[in-house]
């Protein structure tokens, strides 16, 4: 079937096009084509009267196709599709030809050639529409069920917001306790409240939403398949070995004979094999670290049935319509010898320093020695032009200033030096920088070509800085402790591979558009928030978490979502079941299925298919067409394009 009553509209774009392209000549060149019923030029096709023109012509000329030659479809494809639909025609029997960017603007010094190119482009558009078929969007049902991966501050915030909108949430956390990195922080800015206090407040909220939020801790996502509307999730919940409540957990912990470095405190303290990371940790049940437990049974003697040392992992399966990734970051771990790290005692990173402050009361002590003089070195592992991390983690300046002020407040007579490249205490946090200066903390500036050097002299560490603020003179600072202000590194989680989410150049997960679509990824139904996306402070993290929750609701609460119809379509008669297309598909949308008679045929999962056309390209039988871009359409377009003008 050929659409042979096509309306063609050439737009002047107020001179943008018509100053170069002779629009009257274009109309002349196409108006007598056999498929064309009416051809016109008009000043502004996108204007209300321009759209009305299309609507009226469809009725008056009984059109069965529309071609508009104007600007880029990025700008007005949806506008014109709307006009076509209002005129009573299927919106996909329409093609927008871009003669502004593709002709008038790029060839403005060659008006004749530009006009010829415009004619060729319009003819090929007419050719395409003449063979176009009616299409409709693909409707996907969306149940209000969401998987949130990671129960740090971002994951918890997003889960709470979703639950409050009556969305069912599966919150999956790898660690035995929730709260993530924020729980470890000391006096997070801007309020200065302890990280664990902030997390506790969220935990109280979480408890109230128990009916909506299913929390899995100590849990790993084993597989993740499907697509927007229906992702199938398989979670392995690892054994906690503490299976019930007991009033004597603290006695059991005390009796446990095993002592290992406590990872929550970065090894500054020891913990038992059965433990809580900190007071108020959630879930309220302790956990047994089976790698270190010797199964002596002391805890069982006290807690009896609450402890089951033989507990096994459980597998849980469920379906969700969208996924929120809130998997967080890793603090950069300096290399051995980098500013004396792991080479000299007393060289630690900022996160460790924060734990040290949380643990040191009265006096600041490290390995039994009182710390009086501290040098903070900034940008460690960050902003390396040709190095591992080119980016600035941007939270570290403020975090370091904040930590130094907190230290000054908590301990007497501290002497603090900041050895920095640039202070980026942006936004409201400039006042920390100011306050640090006013409180006598001393700032020394280094350039990356001449970084500071840390040496050991007796029981002191000596930091040598070529200080730009002292006109490049070398200054020596004798200190007790060097704190390395480290940035954030992206994590690499198995779920990223399972979902094929794209990464940015820096290795963090990438949004579709940083300004316009900041929390969605290119994979439909997979959204991101917090520090898995970019380095962020707590304030920015929770803001993005609430944003992701609101965005997720726009998908889930309506009950359905619509996808474009331009996907692959198998002609079962031509398909020989060779299977060449299956490995070609980047989204695993093609499956070979047996049909009646034992033959195998390719089947396309409409929701998974992204319409890339790779399968059509490989198919030896031309059995796979891309809707909207069929073989016959493309051939006719080429013929129309090369025909003499």
């Amino acid at each position: 079937m050929v659409n042979d009553r096509i309306g063609v509209y050439i737009c002047h774009c107020g001179g943008n096009i018509s100053d170069v392209v002779d629009v009257y000549k274009v109309v002349e060149a196409v108006k007598d084509m056999p498929e064309v019923a009416v051809a016109r030029e008009y000043m502004f096709m996108c204007s209300d009267p321009g759209q009305k023109l299309i609507e009226d012509d469809i009725k008056n000329y009984n059109l069965n196709g529309v071609v508009v030659a104007s600007c880029s479809p990025h700008l007005h494809e949806l506008t014109f599709r709307g006009a076509v639909q209002r005129g009573g025609l299927n919106p996909y029997l329409f093609e927008q030809i871009n003669i502004r960017e593709h002709s008038a603007w790029v060839h403005k010094h060659e008006p004749e050639a530009a006009t010829e190119k415009a004619i060729r482009l319009v003819r090929s558009g007419i050719a395409k529409v003449s063979l176009a078929r009616e299409l409709s969007t693909i409707r996907v049902d969306m149940e209000p069920k969401v998987l949130v991966v990671g129960a740090g501050i971002a994951g918890i915030r997003a889960a709470l917001d979703l639950a409050k909108a009556d969305v069912e949430v599966y919150l999956v956390e790898k660690q035995p306790f929730i709260g993530g990195r924020v729980a470890q922080g000391y006096g997070a800015y801007p309020s200065g409240r302890m990280g664990s206090e902030i997390i506790k407040e969220l935990i109280e909220e979480l408890k109230k939403e128990e009916s909506k939020i299913k929390l899995f801790t100590n849990a790993e996502i084993k597989s993740l398949g499907g697509t927007i509307g229906k992702f199938h999730v398989v979670v392995q919940v690892n054994p906690r070995y503490v299976v019930g409540n007991c009033s004597n957990f603290n006695d059991a912990i005390e009796k446990c004979p095993i002592e290992v470095p406590d990872e929550f405190n970065y090894g500054l303290t020891k913990r038992k094999a059965i433990y809580y990371p900190y007071e108020g940790a959630y879930p309220e049940l302790p956990v047994i670290d089976m790698e270190n437990c010797n199964k002596c049974g002391e805890c069982v003697k006290i807690c009896g049935g609450a402890i089951n040392l033989e507990q096994e992992a459980e597998t849980v399966e469920f379906d969700v319509s969208t996924i929120v990734l809130a998997t967080g970051f890793n603090p950069y771990e300096p290399k051995e010898g980098e500013f004396g790290y792991k080479q000299f005692e007393g060289v630690i990173t900022l996160p460790v320093f924060e734990r040290l402050m949380a643990l040191s009361n009265g006096k600041l002590t490290y390995n039994g020695k009182e710390v009086k003089e501290i040098a903070f070195i900034y940008c460690v592992g960050s902003r390396e032009k040709d190095g591992e991390h080119e980016y600035c983690s941007r939270y570290c300046c403020t975090a370091t200033l904040n930590a130094s002020l907190a230290a000054l407040e908590k301990y007497n007579d501290l002497r603090i030096y900041h050895i920095y490249r640039d202070i980026r205490a942006y936004g409201k946090y400039e006042r920390y920088y100011e306050e640090a200066g006013k409180k006598g903390e001393l700032f020394l500036r280094y350039v990356p070509e001449e970084p500071p050097v840390v040496e050991k002299e007796g029981d002191k560490l000596i930091v040598k800085v070529k200080d730009q603020l002292t006109f490049g003179e070398e200054i020596e600072l004798p200190v007790d402790m060097v704190v390395l202000s480290v940035g954030m590194e992206p994590r690499n989680e198995d779920v990223f591979q399972m979902l094929r989410v794209p990464f940015s150049r820096d290795g963090f997960l990438q949004e579709i558009h940083p300004k316009i679509r900041p929390v969605e990824t290119a994979i439909g139904g997979v959204l991101i928030c917090g520090t898995c996306q970019a380095p962020r402070d707590t304030v920015e993290t929770t803001a993005s978490a609430s944003a992701v929750a609101a965005k997720t609701e726009t998908y889930t609460l309506k009950g359905y979502t619509e996808l474009e119809p331009f996907i692959a379509e198998v002609d079962a008669e031509k398909c020989t079941g060779c299977g060449d297309c299956v490995p070609e598909c980047p989204t695993e949308a093609i499956e070979l299925k047996e049909v009646a008679g034992g033959e195998k045929k390719a089947f396309i999962n409409e929701v998974l298919c992204i319409g890339c056309g790779a399968c059509g390209g490989i198919c030896p039988e031309e059995a796979i067409n891309l809707r909207g871009y069929r073989y016959d359409q493309l051939r006719k377009m080429i013929d129309a394009m090369v025909e003499e003008v």
């Binding site: 003089e373 002497r415 030096y417 100011e434 200066g437 006013k438 409180k439 006598g440 001393l442 700032f443 200080d467 603020l469 002292t470 006109f471 003179e473 070398e474 200054i475 020596e476 600072l477 004798p478």
Partner: protein, 386 residues
Amino acid sequence: MRVNPTLATEFKELGAAKVTECFNCGNCTAICPVTPQNNGTFPRRLIRYIQLGLEEKVLNAPEVWLCLTCAQCTVTCPREAYPSEIMVAIRKDIIESGMCPVHMRDFLNNLQKQRNPWGIGKFKRDQWRKKADSPPPTVKENPEFEWLWFVDCAHSFDNRNIEVSKKIARLLNDIELNYAILGREEGCCGNDARKAGEEGLFLLLKEENEQIFAKYGVERIVTASPHCYNTFKNEYDGYDVKLLLEIIYDAIKSGALTLKHPVNKKVTYHDSCYLGRYNDIYELPREILKLIPGVELVEMPRNRREALCCGGGAGFVVSEYPGEIRPNNLRAKEAADTGAEVLAVACPFCMIMLEDGVKVQKVDDKIVVRDIIELVYESVYGPEEG
């Protein structure tokens, strides 16, 4: 060089109270009118040395003697670290260490021995009084005085300024202010001794002044010198201090003085550092000039908060200035460039420095330096007497 964090604490006690607040932006260096062109690190470098505790470098920096305490840096400093006060603190440290530079010695010796910068015998302090047609009463002559007119060193010993003193006396007598002067018992206020870094001498002078004030029951002080005004008002305790111009202004406003003779002159006014930047008095002198009939007031491009110093602060009214840039010469040229015929001043040190500048710049045929008091006097009593 190894840091010594205790040095900054010591300097805070020396008066550099805000030294640790400096964040080394360099505004002070950019604004400083005497920073050498090819070594633009003063005063920032010295402040940095104190922060780091490099005392050796601080004590051996000759640039510190460039500072005129004009306070342009201090009013511009975004951190309110008071750079000019830090320079004063460094000088205190140097002088306390017994390393007073040669060029400052005469000034300080003169103050110590004769209680005036020039070293003229202190018993001559009241000699100007004999030349006055309408001499001021002394505390002995008028023991019931309400105001003590603290005449100040320049108005007592410097011939050009004595001309002004005589006029002040007639004006005060005619408005019938109940006042008196201390005569030869008057000392030096100590303002510039302190700014030069001789804190001990300042304290000694202050103690002497307080004793003499107590002896005569002084409660209220009026002075024509911004330097005296500054120190009495801000560094002494318990006195009601007024600037002479305030009294003159009130007398004009109340009708006690009538400005009846026009002074048909184009006049530009040079702000004194110690009136303007130290005490925020910018408009009073201008208001008085505007009240004088015939005066056309024009401004130099750098005026009020941005006004250039005359170069006479911190002892340099007599001491040999070690810098290459001479602010009094620059200022005289700026004044002449406005086309004004009179460069009006409100400070006896500005008078001395700028008269010198006008001569060096050879613009004395175009412009003369006059105290505002002299212009008021001319308007009150007529051009012949003026």
